[in-house]
């Protein structure tokens, strides 16, 4: 196994990408979005999970793109794929239960893993409308596990997200809107939920019974208390396992020389930069 990088040899995006990559197990069916998640999955495909099956929402099934796609609709997605088709296939496969793991992002998250990608502020008097849901709730509803990659700021790890775009472990039961365990709402479609949030300060997981987030590992240089202070809700830091594993030199080589040499999603570390 390749040596781990030393502080200063990797950047924060490198760390996130490698942490995300390690969430994939070999032979899994993985539903990938554009951006850093795509780099993480292709990294896994080139390291410990050579047989993962990659699905792109736009209609590529078991894809092996020759270079990093800039979006899931891009032309290189389908090169080498098992089948290229369309969204009906991709979402049918997801709803049918073939997907093991999904990678997603978000602007806000609450303690149950409910994520917002729709708007900031009151939905009915929106100050800033974001991109909207896209496939975020769909992948999250259907996959057995989902991993969220997020920028960590106190205004983003909140008591209540402005809008629940993507369902966490405890969700709203309509028409009343009271919170119930996801399992009670999804019935036979219940297959799991958010399994990790990888933020810029640590890796978080969920107690599947209470539905609450807890801190799993701290990124190098961060303490549990610091991280707790960066959440509006009362983060459980009693189960911290230690430090997030840092990138190996081989992972860094693949990210920067093979996958993203043009620094489309992950900038190369500058000589004077810090991890």
């Amino acid at each position: 196994m390749s040596k781990h990088a030393l502080p200063g040899e990797y950047s924060l995006p490198d760390l996130l990408c490698c942490a995300a990559s390690r969430e994939v197990r070999d032979n899994e069916v993985v539903f990938a979005g554009t951006g850093l998640p795509m780099v993480a999955i292709l990294l896994a495909q080139r390291t410990h999970a050579p047989n993962l099956k990659l699905i792109f929402e736009a209609g590529t099934l078991d894809g092996r793109p020759p270079e990093l796609p800039t979006s899931v609709g891009a032309s290189c997605c389908e090169i080498g794929a098992s089948r290229s088709s369309g969204l009906n296939d991709a979402f049918s496969i997801a709803q049918r239960g073939y997907v093991d793991l999904g990678y997603l992002g978000g602007a806000e998250v609450d303690q149950y893993g409910n994520v917002n990608t729709t708007c900031i502020g009151d939905y009915l008097h929106s100050e800033l409308r974001l991109t909207g849901s896209g496939g975020n709730p769909d992948i999250n509803s259907f996959a057995s596990r989902t991993v969220f990659i997020m920028l960590h700021e106190k205004r983003r790890f909140v008591n209540n997200v402005s809008y629940i775009t993507s369902p966490g472990w405890r969700v709203k039961k309509w028409p009343g809107g009271e919170f119930v365990h996801r399992r009670d709402l999804y019935g036979s479609a219940f297959r799991g939920g958010p399994s990790a949030v990888i933020s810029t300060v640590g890796v978080f997981r969920f107690d599947e019974e209470t539905g609450c987030m807890f801190l799993d590992t701290c990124h190098p240089g961060k303490t549990p208390e610091e991280i707790k202070d960066l959440c509006q809700f009362d983060l459980d830091i009693s189960r911290v396992k230690g430090e997030t594993e840092v990138p190996t030199l081989e992972e860094l080589r693949i990210i920067h020389e093979v996958l993203d040499p043009e620094e489309i999603f992950i900038p190369k570390i500058k000589k004077h930069a810090h991890a």
Binding site: G73, S75, L128, T131, S133, D138, K172, A189
Partner: protein, 322 residues
């Protein structure tokens, strides 16, 4: 054969009336009928009701130009060339655009249902999210759910009685007056061949009452019929056809040309404000036709976007810049 389906770009846009329910081919920033979008803006079309599986730069153009009153979809942005849909966001803030949010899969199911001739689809996605919040039924709040052009309900919640599968959500079929598609090849009789991912184009074409196909090339129908399993949409689902080379620019077309990322970045950077949008439209849309638009883009730019025909994409190492 007996019915000539060819029309001009201008005629295509005249078929789309003020207030039409409209949808498009493509996916985010790929294979969008931009030439038609530009012409809609030139002809000052108003009150459009866009229903889209997903939005993209073309949505931003139409919304920015004030052509759209209602947008039902799940996503708008420019992928990595612009973080969000700034024109949509501005119009929502100003309350001059009604946005009805569904999830991506739900939008697909809605078009699939319409393409199958059934009034709704059954799904289990997005349960427990605010997408299903009854307070956020924006067309309902606006009193527009007439049960004819717009479904009486945004959702219906139910339970499965066949297998005890639990909660289900029913979403109404996406009924649209017109679909405009941009594809690789269309035959004189309307047969469509798409290369690469076909996204949700087959559902969209079948769902619409009228389908207009804009193609890089009109090709002999007989050529397409030599290999009928490669075709995506049958002749009789297509009402009108026109040829418009590079008519998807700045969106990309598999095997033909890449997304023009620089163009979209420039659009995103300069159209956050209405004044910015108007200046952009003045420079790139009004007073142009498709040929003068291509002239303005210039050869260097377009050659740089060209896909390698052996690879079907534009390898980054062969490109200048980016």
């Amino acid at each position: 054969m007996s019915i000539d389906k060819r029309i001009t770009l201008q005629q295509a846009v005249e078929i789309i009336k003020d207030g039409s329910r409209l949808t498009f081919s493509g996916f985010t920033i790929w294979r969008r009928p931009m030439a038609v979008v530009y012409e809609l803006i030139r002809q000052h079309r108003k009150g459009l009701h866009l229903i889209e599986v997903n939005g993209g730069s073309h949505t931003e153009f139409l919304v920015g130009a004030g052509c759209v009153d209602i947008w039902e979809s799940c996503w708008v942005g420019h992928e990595l060339y612009g973080k969000y849909g700034a024109n949509v966001s501005r119009k929502v803030r100003e309350k001059s655009l009604i946005v009805e949010d569904y999830s991506h899969a739900e939008m697909l199911y809605r078009f699939a249902a319409a393409s199958q001739g059934v009034p709704y689809a059954v799904g289990q996605t997005s349960l427990g999210t605010d997408i299903h919040n009854p307070e956020y039924d924006m067309l309902g709040r606006a009193g527009l759910r007439d049960g004819k052009r717009i479904a009486k309900h945004k959702y219906i919640f139910t339970e499965d009685s066949f297998y005890g599968a639990g909660s289900l959500v029913l979403v109404p079929a996406a009924k649209v007056d017109i679909a405009v598609l941009f594809v690789h090849q269309v035959g004189e009789e309307g047969t469509v061949r798409i290369n690469g991912q076909f996204y949700s184009d087959p559902e969209v074409a079948r769902a619409a009452d009228t389908t207009i196909v804009v193609a890089e090339e009109i090709v002999p129908e007989e050529y397409l019929r030599r290999d009928s399993t490669r075709n995506n949409i049958p002749s009789f689902e297509v009402d009108y056809i026109l040829e418009c080379p590079f008519g998807a620019h700045p969106s990309g077309v598999f095997g033909r040309y890449d997304v023009d990322g620089e163009f979209l970045k420039h659009f995103y950077a300069t159209t956050r404000t209405q004044e910015g949008f108007d200046a952009f439209a003045k420079e790139w849309i009004h007073g142009h036709d498709q040929l003068s638009y291509l002239e303005k883009l210039g050869w260097s730019r377009m050659l740089n976007l060209r896909a390698n025909s052996a690879l079907n994409y534009t390898p980054r190492k062969t490109k200048g810049g980016n």
